[in-house]
């Protein structure tokens, strides 16, 4: 992990690499783990910058829902530097009414299924993804089940005993 100072240096370097564009929105160092908050539009150049710094392995892409905070949806990219045995999280936030994030599949092929999963569960649209379909839920499923405003309960259960006795089986 970069320590708190190292993280700040990295953030500064990233901001300088992008010139006047306000790419870095903040840094967080929590429980020994560093995280960079970046603009959604700059995710591709950020990951490329970090790849050049040695973070050559995209371990995972997560979706999050920060309800009721705004912007609600979040995407986390976990990067690993395999030589320095070092780890870094890149975070971004998008609102639900325009949940668009540039896809990184052409640079990081491993992100293919993971972006599809984030799309399936949270409805984040990855622009430029070659095949953005649902991956876990049926293709005709409506809604994004991991969003926090999605109902927790499943289907009402049908018990044939109740039905035969003219009782409402959903109660």
């Amino acid at each position: 992990m970069p320590d708190a100072t190292g993280l700040e240096l990295l953030a500064q370097e990233l901001a300088e690499a992008h010139g006047d564009e306000p790419v870095v929105q903040g840094t967080a160092h929590f429980r020994g783990k560093g995280a960079l908050h970046v603009q959604p539009g700059a995710i591709r150049s950020t990951l490329e910058f970090l790849r050049a710094k040695g973070y050559g392995f995209l371990a995972s892409v997560h979706g999050l829902d920060y309800y009721p905070e705004e912007p609600r949806l979040g995407v986390h990219y976990e990067l690993i530097d395999m030589n320095a045995v070092d780890r870094l999280t890149v975070k971004l936030r998008v609102p639900t009414d325009a949940p668009e994030v540039p896809s990184v599949v052409d640079q990081w092929p491993t992100a293919d299924f993971q972006e599809r999963e984030v799309y399936d569960m949270f409805g984040v649209v990855f622009t430029g993804h070659p095949d953005l379909r649902r991956i876990l839920m049926p293709e005709d499923y409506e809604g994004h089940p991991q969003r926090r405003d999605f109902p927790v309960g499943g289907e009402p259960v049908l018990f044939t005993y109740d039905e035969a006795h003219d009782r409402d089986y959903t109660q």
Binding site: L136, M137, P138, Y141, P145, F150, P151, V152, G153, G154, E155, V157, L158, F159, T160, E163, A164
Partner: protein, 227 residues
């Protein structure tokens, strides 16, 4: 015919009785028995029943399950063919590899919305008469996985026996299977077509209406059209 319960004989007596009956059977085959003696021998040696009862008895004692496991309950289900419980004892012999050869399907585990059409297809491929057991909490009421991804079995196919548990002990599954067996002995259709409003979906030959409300795969007498 009157059913006569006899006292249990002591071993020596039983041996003698058995010898005597053997002798009478030999005499009958030679044609030496006549009149009241022959009548008495036939009454002792013959059971009368209806063909339907005999058929139900045979079906209940030969329900082969489909090889089909869904989740953790399937691990418990595997003990059914092991030495301790061994469903071969009641004629269920082996898990059949094809639904075409199976009479019973055990829904052993959670059923996701994506899996449901596949299970329904397997169930539809089974030949009638067919039975289904929902094993465990998930396939009956979704259990601990009561969320967006799981669907209870009753929503998409008829189920004859629900076995509670998470997972049910092998004894519980055995009890469910024996329960289903005695239900089949009583009534092979188990009334699921009425319960699920599925009248008219019987797989029968040549447009014959069965004269009893059974889900049996039998043709009427003389008509073999389409067979």
């Amino acid at each position: 015919m009157e059913i006569v319960r006899r006292e249990k004989l002591d071993p020596v007596e039983a041996q003698r009785e058995f010898r005597a009956r053997q002798l009478r059977a030999k005499q009958m085959l030679r044609g030496e028995l006549e009149g009241a003696e022959l009548e008495r021998h036939v009454e002792q040696g013959v059971i009368t029943t209806t063909l339907e009862r005999a058929l139900d008895w045979a079906r209940g004692n030969s329900m082969f399950p489909a090889t089909f496991g869904l989740a953790c309950c399937a691990i418990e289900m595997m003990t059914m063919v092991g030495a301790r419980l061994d469903i071969a004892r009641i004629g269920s012999e082996a898990f059949r590899a094809s639904p075409r050869q199976a009479d019973m399907i055990i829904l052993s585990g959670r059923i996701s919305i994506k899996m449901a059409p596949i299970i329904r297809r397997i169930y539809d491929q089974m030949l009638e008469p067919k039975w289904a057991i929902a094993m465990g909490a998930c396939s009956s009421s979704m259990g601990v996985f009561n969320n967006y991804a799981i669907v209870p079995a009753d929503k998409f196919m008829p189920v004859d026996v629900h076995i509670p548990g998470c997972p049910p002990r092998p004894e519980a599954l055995m009890h469910g299977i024996l329960r289903l067996r005695s239900m089949i002995h009583d009534d092979p259709a188990l009334g699921w077509r009425e319960r699920y409003n599925a009248e008219g979906t019987e797989e029968i030959l040549g447009g014959i209406t069965p004269d009893r409300d059974a889900a049996v795969n039998v043709a009427g007498s003389g008509d073999t059209a389409g067979a």
